[in-house]
């Protein structure tokens, strides 16, 4: 284990401080990711893990990667995640109860086993020499060093990866592209559907939210003449996400018709 | 023309020609197939004329390098045993084509596919008997399953898919064991003078008795499945009941002979010591097969299943003759293979015609055929008589040789096996009585007798059955030296007459 000890540079102590401060935070954030209910919170915690890792990269003389980590990962990828989260439902929260029997114990046992074995393996690993440090490699500067490798030794993988990136972008477009399976109904057909359907209930169009209600927000259902809320006045997506307020709470008290009659 | 390879190529060429015919011209494809098989049969006969009877070495040997990396050669050659079986296969092929002129209709695929499969199968039938390279043998042994599987599954009746799968899995299982043994032989040959699959070279290998026993079992189980030996027989009745008659003829007449052929050619040659070790067990299994097959045949209600069970009984006789290790038993077994091919072919072919006309294979549905369709009934009767080994018909000579040969060394086995001849009378005469005799069963009044094509197809079989019963010498003269050679190689001599130990 001692072989791995780093005796490079003078940044030993500050780095240790940095590590021992950030590492627990990172682990805590990662664990938090597992444990929080809301996906958004997970995303935030993930972002924090990534930033921490970026710091670790920089601390390990990987300046370029650290920056890329922040720009690409934390900046772009995590934003993509959040974007999709919003699309799918930013507030939706997982229930953390397990539905597949026995999966969680298996996961925990495997995790303990895997982690424990990994750690003990690393602990027993010997390199046979001292760690070298990147001072020599980074003598021209980290970015230049990487660039030199990337455009000489790794130029072919680099090109391949770029092709992969383009393909992935195309693939995402293809996947996200909505393919209509049937002809979009014409206005005439829609009209026929509306008036010749089973009932004429919706012939005049769905009620708009907020009509007769106490609020006129989009998530407040319209009230029907008898005071009951009309659930179908609210966008289905809001309902699916659970973002709609409970329509029952908007129900007016029983309208006293007799009194009204008197007035 | 004395080239086995050319002989093997002929059916392939024929199958290509058949494949080239338009799908609509079914008759043309049939005629092409018939012409090919007839040519092959004539070519084989011509080859057989040039066979030197007293030479026990392999003849017509040809050897081409195939996969040099592994020392695999495409090498062929025949001795008396293989020659007789090739002769049987190639003579049966045109008879099958001609007798089953219409049996490809109503299959899953086209008519010409049927004949392509038959012709490809014929090539393999020649190859499997001619191969002298163990790897080549194995490849053909397994590849033969494909056309048969397709023939059963594609053109059969009833539960044809299930039967075909059962047949395939059974055979593949055996083939797998054999493959393991072959690989082991190959590996061992590497340690003893270079990797090879050559049969001659492999038979010189030295190995411990335990190794020999295991490898022997690998081969033997494969062959015991092929030549259904009790208790590995249950695939046969299903397959035979579902296949078309022509397929059944090739299946029981030729393919199953690969099992008994393999026992002689591979089990005995490669593992003489292990063969001796297992002989007591195999003899018991053979005797059980004889009696068991016969009793089960008696109990069958379906004509095709009945014939299948009679064959199990007959294969018991063949196996018994092989492992009795006397020249009579051995020659008898080889002759039995040949004769069984024809008598079973006759039973299946005529039975198939009966079934096709009546539309049912249940024996009880027939009745009184002797008066409605005398020629067909007589053909069936004669085939049945051959199957029960009536003296004067071909099977008698072979069956009696097997029994006599076995008796000199294993009297108890032979005595029990002889009870099989009484059972044989029952299993043949019961269907004969139910199907051919008795009052005309309803629905049978209008059945047609055999037409010219069918008569032409069955006549050579009948002629063969009768002629070889009275004059088996031409075949025995070819078989005897080969059998004697094997017996001598195994280190056996015929038991001398004891005079009752006086």
């Amino acid at each position: 284990m001692l072989d791995l000890a780093i005796s490079v540079g003078q940044t030993q102590t500050p780095e240790a401080v940095l590590f021992w401060v950030l590492a627990p935070l990172t682990v805590a954030a990662a664990l938090g990711m597992l444990l929080v209910k809301k996906a958004v919170h997970s995303a935030i915690l993930m972002a924090s893990v990534m930033v921490n890792l970026a710091v670790f990269y920089i601390a390990q003389d990987a300046l370029f990667l650290g920056i890329v980590q922040i720009v690409v990962y934390t900046g772009a990828v995590m934003m993509l995640f959040l974007f999709i989260l919003m699309l799918v439902g930013v507030d939706s929260s997982d229930s953390l109860t397990e539905t597949i029997p026995g999966l969680r114990p298996i996961a925990i046992v495997a995790a303990v086993g895997f982690g424990g074995l990994m750690v003990s393996l690393i602990g027993r690993a010997t390199l046979g020499r001292n760690a070298i440090g990147l001072d020599a490699a980074n003598s021209l500067g980290n970015v230049e060093g990487i660039a030199q490798l990337l455009f000489s030794k790794y130029v072919w993988p680099f090109e391949v990866v770029s092709a992969l990136l383009i393909t992935a972008a195309l693939g995402a477009m293809v996947l996200a592209h909505h393919q209509s399976i049937q002809m979009r109904p014409t206005q005439r057909q829609l009209s026929t559907q509306r008036f010749r359907g089973k009932s004429l209930a919706n012939a005049a169009g769905l009620p708009a939210p907020g009509v007769f209600a106490r609020h006129n927000a989009v998530d407040v259902p319209a009230l029907l003449p008898d005071g009951t809320p009309a659930a179908n006045s609210i966008n289905a997506t809001l309902q699916a996400r659970g973002d709609m307020l409970n329509s029952g709470t908007f129900e007016l008290g029983k309208v006293d018709t007799s009194k009204g009659e008197e007035k | 023309m004395n080239s086995l390879v050319l002989l093997m190529l002929l059916p392939i060429i024929g199958s290509i020609a058949v494949a080239a015919t338009p799908r609509t011209k079914e008759v043309l494809s049939k005629q092409l197939a018939l012409a090919t098989t007839v040519i092959v049969a004539i070519a084989t006969l011509a080859m057989a004329m040039n066979f030197q009877r007293d030479n026990v070495d392999l003849q017509f040997v040809e050897k081409y390098s195939w996969i040099p990396t592994f020392g695999i050669n495409f090498s062929v050659g025949v001795d008396g045993l293989a020659l007789v079986l090739i002769l049987m296969s190639t003579i049966l092929a045109p008879i099958v084509v001609l007798s089953g002129w219409n049996e490809a209709h109503g299959g899953r695929w086209s008519v010409k596919t049927f004949y392509i499969l038959i012709l490809v199968l014929e090539t393999m039938m020649i190859g499997v008997f001619a191969a002298t390279d163990v790897f080549l043998f194995y490849v053909i042994f397994e590849a033969m399953l494909i056309p048969v599987y397709l023939l059963i599954g594609g053109y059969g009746t009833g539960e044809r898919s299930a039967a075909a799968v059962k047949f395939l899995i059974y055979s593949l299982f055996g083939g797998l064991l054999m493959l393991a043994s072959i690989i082991a032989l190959y590996v061992m040959s590497g340690a003893q003078g270079g990797h090879t699959f050559d049969l001659q070279a492999l038979s010189q290998l030295e190995m411990s008795s335990t190794t020999q026993n295991f490898l022997f079992l690998g081969f033997f189980i494969a062959f015991a499945i092929k030549a259904p030996l009790w208790p590995l027989h249950t695939w046969l009745p299903d397959a035979a009941a579902s296949a078309t008659p022509g397929t059944s003829v090739l299946l029981l007449g030729v393919l199953d002979k690969v099992g008994t052929f393999g026992m002689i050619r591979y089990c005995l040659t490669l593992f003489p010591e292990a063969s001796k070790t297992f002989t007591p067990l195999i003899m018991v299994l053979a005797v059980i097969s004889i009696v068991y097959g016969a009793i089960l045949a008696i109990g069958q209600k379906d004509l095709k299943r009945l014939i299948a069970f009679t064959s199990i009984s007959h294969f018991g006789f063949i196996t018994m003759g092989i492992f009795a290790m006397t020249s009579q038993g051995h020659s008898g077994a080889t002759l039995y293979m040949f004769n069984h091919g024809f008598s079973t072919a006759a039973l299946f072919i005529v039975g198939g015609w009966m079934i096709a006309r009546r539309g049912s294979s249940t024996i009880a549905d027939f009745g009184g055929l002797q008066r409605i369709t005398p020629v067909m009934a007589w053909s069936f009767f004669l085939a049945g008589m051959s199957s029960l080994a009536l003296p004067g018909l071909s099977s008698f000579v072979s069956e009696f040789l097997v029994l006599v040969g076995t008796f000199t060394r294993y009297p108890v086995h032979a005595v029990i096996a002889t009870f099989g001849i009484v059972l044989a009378a029952l299993y043949i005469l019961i269907p004969v009585q139910k199907a051919l005799h008795g009052p005309t069963a309803p629905g049978n009044e209008e059945l047609r007798d055999l037409n010219i094509r069918e008569k032409v197809a069955i006549a050579p079989v009948m002629a063969m059955i009768i002629a070889l019963g009275f004059y088996p010498s031409p075949l025995l003269n070819v078989i005897n030296p080969a059998s004697a050679h094997v017996i001598a190689q195994m280190g056996f001599t015929d038991p001398a007459p004891t005079n009752g130990d006086k």
């Binding site: 791995l4 780095e15 590590f19 990962y73 070298i132 | -």
Partner: protein, 99 residues
């Protein structure tokens, strides 16, 4: 300070990520956990790069990032597609592999 500590951290993060993949049902969270595992691997690469004193590890980590980006793009597109047809982002709902 011992560079091995980074490796321990990497192992730990990887394990946490793996558990997350198994335990969480929301496809997006699962994806984030996969990212976490990739990042853990990257950390190990960077650390090894430092220990070995050459930049190959960092280059590989760079490639990993690119591939991870690709994966995220395609993966999220798939999630969106599934969500569109099933109105759910739970990986358990997409259990059609069964039959």
């Amino acid at each position: 300070m011992d560079a091995a500590n980074y490796l321990y951290l990497s192992a730990l993060l990887f394990t946490i990520g793996a558990v997350g993949v198994v335990v969480r049902r929301n496809a997006i969270v699962v994806f984030m956990c996969v990212e976490l595992m990739l990042n853990a691997a990257n950390l190990a690469f960077v650390t090894f790069s430092r220990i070995n004193g050459d930049l190959n590890g960092q280059v590989v980590a760079f490639f990993t990032m690119v591939v991870a980006a690709c994966e995220v793009v395609v993966g999220l597109a798939i999630i969106v597609t599934i969500y569109r047809s099933r109105r759910s982002a739970s990986v358990d709902d997409a259990s059609l592999l069964k039959r």
